[in-house]
Amino acid sequence: MLEVEGLSDGGRVRHVSLTVRAGEIVGLTGLVGAGRTEVAQALFGLAPRSAGSIRVRGVPVCPRSPAQARRAGLAYVPEDRKRDGIAPNLSVRENITLPILSRLAWLGTVRLRKEQGLARQQARTFGISPADPERRIATLSGGNQQKAVIARWLATQPAVLILDEPTRGVDVGAKAEIHAIIGDLVAQGLGVLMISSELPEVMAVSDRVYVMHEGRIAPPLARGELSEARIMELATGEATA
């Protein structure tokens, strides 16, 4: 689904290669500052790239803006929900439909019925509570805001979903729900790249795990090779691979 080769951003990210297959959750971990978020931003056209090739569904793409990344089949749930995720004073509905608004419009005018229908459906599918999509999104709990951001991106019907710390600042119940949602999506053939610093989460959810250290990425660890000690070796650069 996603094949990245030799990705560099001219700064922190140095020659990163990784693949995400359909129906697979791939973990991406490392110490803070290892360049994980920068990889996601470079993939999604939020930061410039200096080298590397990206293929989505086998098609070479070169997104220079989030809009181009979306058209290529990528979706990105950012790490800092308040800063980069939600528009706090817009409703849940307006937040969910933001990337696909043009598709819900006729001659530039939003078709409200259609939009409301889609928002209600997404709220139900993702178990957003309270279920009323007309509420200001800032009034929802962190976990429900996060579900809304995930619902926003799944509405674009992406091939690959990049999740950056999807359960940070989310209570235990919502965390389990979000993991269940991710599991369902993967079962339907979505590829997921999950960036996370929480090793238990990474090890529990991922099919394979990449570890980054100072902008470089190590070959992936398969499920059977996963252990906290092994990941920490790679993350701190102590491993002699």
Binding site: N89, E94, P99, S102, G108, T109, V110
Partner: protein
């Protein structure tokens, strides 16, 4: 009030998009007024009006590119471009004061259509179009999202730079229309004709409860603010309040409106 009202509608978009404010309005108004009279002998009334609006819109494009794509502070940009635009408009006609070539060309605006003054109809149309654009269209939603959270709108594939730039193109266009109407009504135009229009427009928008912090507000509220400020000014004048005191009152009103906005936002906790 109708003439300034056209600018108020557009200024709403600048504030809602989080673009702060457009201070080049006096210059675009003067451009619209001067050109729509100066070009009358060459292009006719309609042609000259169009030329004035186009020149003012071009100035708005310049502002939009610098603010939206250059990411330079809007206050500084529009302060600078306002001076440049005004100079260019003055220089292009050579003189300091311009008179209309056809004294009857403003009659349609001053006359009444179905009992409503023509100029009020123009304002009503502008307000209606602005309202629909902000509340019903993809562009309007993008404008609110951009002003509410620029980074999140960017990540959600909203063309944030274009949206911000577009708001300044709108104020340029509105300044041109407003200036053209002013020129045709008065049948003369000086470079200082639009002085204070930026202040009056921002006052109306802010008093109407449109957030200076971006993301929140509607054309309806801004028009409400305009009506309120005009009524207040009229009442004060009728009550014999002197002009300097009126200025004091309006200034306090703006501070109160902005303070209330910031306080409400803090309590909103977002």
């Amino acid at each position: 009030m109708s003439i300034i009202g056209v600018v108020v509608v557009a200024m709403t978009f600048v504030l809602v998009a989080g673009g702060l404010a457009d201070l080049s309005v006096p210059a675009t108004v003067a451009t619209g007024a001067i050109l729509s009279l100066a070009f009358q002998p060459v292009l006719g009334t309609v042609g000259a009006f169009g030329a004035g609006v186009m020149a003012a819109t071009a100035a708005g494009v310049l502002n939009g590119v610098l603010v939206g794509y250059g990411r330079i502070n809007a206050i500084i940009v529009t302060l600078a471009t306002g001076t440049i635009i005004l100079g260019a408009a003055q220089w292009s006609v050579g003189g300091v004061i311009v008179y209309g070539a056809y004294p009857t060309s403003g009659d349609l605006l001053k006359g009444r259509i179905a009992g409503v003054p023509g100029i009020v109809l123009v304002f009503g149309l502008a307000a209606l179009m602005g309202h629909l654009l902000l509340s019903r269209t993809v562009w309007g939603r993008w404008t609110r999202a951009t002003g509410d959270n620029y980074a999140a709108a960017t990540a959600a594939t909203v063309p944030v730079r274009l949206v911000r730039a577009g708001a300044f193109v709108l104020t340029g266009l509105a300044g041109g229309v407003s200036g053209g109407l002013l020129g045709l009504t008065l049948q003369n135009a000086r470079p200082g004709i639009g002085q204070g229009y930026e202040f009056d427009a921002i006052t109306a928008v802010v008093v109407g409860g449109v957030s200076i912090l971006g993301g929140q507000g509607s054309v309806g509220r801004a028009v409400g603010g305009l009506v309120f400020v005009q009524l207040l000014t009229n009442v004060m004048t009728l009550a014999g309040v002197r002009t300097p005191v009126q200025g004091l009152a309006l200034g306090l009103l703006i501070i109160a409106a902005v303070a209330l906005d910031v306080a409400v936002r803090r309590r909103g906790g977002s």
